[in-house]
């Protein structure tokens, strides 16, 4: 009886503490009334690069608060065509923003290209597969049992990976080894966790976070797959179109370009 009472008291106390922690975050910025918010849905290959771009952006635009959600371009496109409350969409290709434009969901003439993605073959250094020397053809090595790529059905990087494997003439041999991540970040996670031996992933992900400095990296010949032109668009439903424009303009500016370059993206038209 006593023990039960103590347990109930403990649970109540925990509930109070938890709900207490959740309160009071709304006014954390203190700036209050002047804060503008831009909600961004971004392709997962932008994870590290965009985080870095935003650090600079906040310094230059202290009153504009950019919140980013990372995920699969295809998934975002679906959610956006069903009214998801994002102001800006940064896709890993140009066709998803195009589709949203055709559906009349975007601000007229707001489509823009912001980067060109690059593809690499990646494997853990410790496995010593000789990826650096062998490149994409090395994936036929029987020692490599599982190769992670993004799902070519709805991830632009997945489509590029399949095209590159076909160009190298190794698709037939590698196909049985393929495991598909829902997006490029999940494919990267399959390799990082060691569950897949190698992966064909975005260069931008291999240069930062958990993959940084631990892999053998070989860039895939840029001519062997359709260019990964990455485009974005501003949604009609944006709460503050001007703030959204401020952000997209910044993304096309010299500071953001320097960061994107550092993370292994080429710039539009490069």
């Amino acid at each position: 009886m006593k023990r039960t009472r103590a347990l109930v008291a403990g649970l109540l106390a925990a509930a109070v503490i938890l709900t207490g922690c959740g309160a009071g975050n709304d006014t954390a910025d203190g700036a209050g009334a002047q804060q503008k918010v831009v909600k961004v849905a971004a392709a997962s290959d932008l994870k590290f690069a965009l985080d870095d771009v935003l650090k600079d952006f906040r310094t230059d635009n202290p009153t504009t608060n950019v919140e980013v959600t990372y995920g699969s371009s295809g998934n975002f496109a679906t959610q956006l065509s069903n009214g998801a409350p994002f102001d800006v969409f940064l896709s890993a290709d140009t066709s998803y923003p195009q589709k949203l434009e055709e559906a009349g969901l975007t601000v007229d003439g707001s489509q823009f290209d912001y980067a060109v993605g690059r593809l690499v073959v990646w494997a853990d250094k410790n496995k010593q597969f000789g990826i650096v020397a062998g490149g994409i053809r090395k994936l036929t090595d029987p020692k490599i049992r599982k190769v992670a790529i993004a799902n070519p059905e709805h991830a632009p990087y997945g489509r590029a990976a399949v095209a590159a494997l076909k160009s190298a003439g190794v698709y037939e041999q590698v196909q049985p080894k393929l495991v598909l991540g829902d997006n490029i970040a999940q494919a990267a996670e399959f390799v990082t966790s060691g569950n897949a031996d190698a992966g064909v992933i975005a260069l931008s992900l291999s240069l930062a976070g958990p993959m940084k400095d631990i892999g053998d990296v070989a860039e895939v010949d840029l001519e062997s797959y359709p260019r990964i032109n990455q485009g974005g668009v501003i949604m009609k439903k944006a709460t503050d179109v001007e703030a959204a424009r401020t952000f997209t303009a910044y993304l096309g500016g010299p500071k953001a370009h320097a960061v994107l370059k550092a993370y292994g993206f080429y710039l539009p038209g490069q």
């Binding site: 679906t78 059905e153 897949a196």
Partner: protein, 225 residues
């Protein structure tokens, strides 16, 4: 409609249910008849965890725990020469963990509902406990056992998060019906997604309706007063 995915889901659900019955019958009996000590409460809580944990949490832990960087993963690799993630067997491990409470809880309730005097009569006549369990408790707890089996099966068919984290989307190996629907939606093929979803909806309704009908019948037959 991706029939390969439908068949794979059914195969996964049937195998999962088979394994769960083997695990949940003794576990359910123990939970129903063992004296209430702290460790019984602890095991009850562990069994119920998948009810409250997000599938993504289970999937993430499974990917780490079965992967080549964990002792379990390495042991399995030494034994079979292949890894558990991205394989049907790996999904099976994930599904068994994920659907455990759906099998164990109804089965425990079934055993707990058996009239204790009948069990005690059997014991006092000198019958072994295991024989009593098999010949008296199990038949009387049958409604609970059937419910547990049906729910495990249906729950596995509807599984998504664990498969997404652990599966790698291999046709015929790990591309289940829920993943096929997700892929169709992401590829903006809403017609296929709609058809497959409808099939799953009708199936789920039929399963639940059957379960409730069975339960009512058993109760009228006076299996449990």
């Amino acid at each position: 409609m991706d029939w390969q995915a439908v068949l794979l889901s059914l195969r996964l659900a049937a195998t999962t249910t088979g394994i769960l019955l083997v695990v949940a019958l003794p576990l359910g009996a123990w939970l129903a008849y063992a004296p209430r000590r702290w460790w019984r409460t602890a095991i009850e809580a562990v069994v119920a965890l998948p009810l409250v944990l997000p599938p993504s949490v289970l999937g993430f832990y499974a990917l780490i725990a079965l992967g080549p960087k964990s002792p379990v993963g390495r042991w399995y690799e030494d034994l079979t020469g292949s890894l558990l993630p991205f394989s049907f067997t790996g999904l099976l491990v994930g599904s068994v963990l994920f659907s455990l409470p759906f099998a164990v809880q109804p089965i425990t309730a079934g055993f707990a509902g058996v009239d204790r005097r009948l069990l005690e009569a059997s014991w006092s006549l000198g019958e072994f406990r295991t024989v009593t369990l098999a010949r008296i408790a199990v038949p009387l707890a049958l409604p609970g056992i059937v419910t547990g089996a049906v729910l495990s099966f249906a729950h596995t068919v509807g599984e998504f998060g664990v498969v997404l984290m652990l599966g790698g989307n291999l046709p015929g190996q790990t591309r289940t019906i829920s993943i096929a629907i997700y892929d169709s939606v992401q590829a903006m093929d809403y017609a296929t997604a709609g058809r497959t979803s409808l099939l799953l909806l009708v199936f789920s309704f039929a399963v639940l309706a059957t379960t409730y009908t069975l339960q009512r019948r058993f109760t009228y037959a006076g299996a449990t007063p």
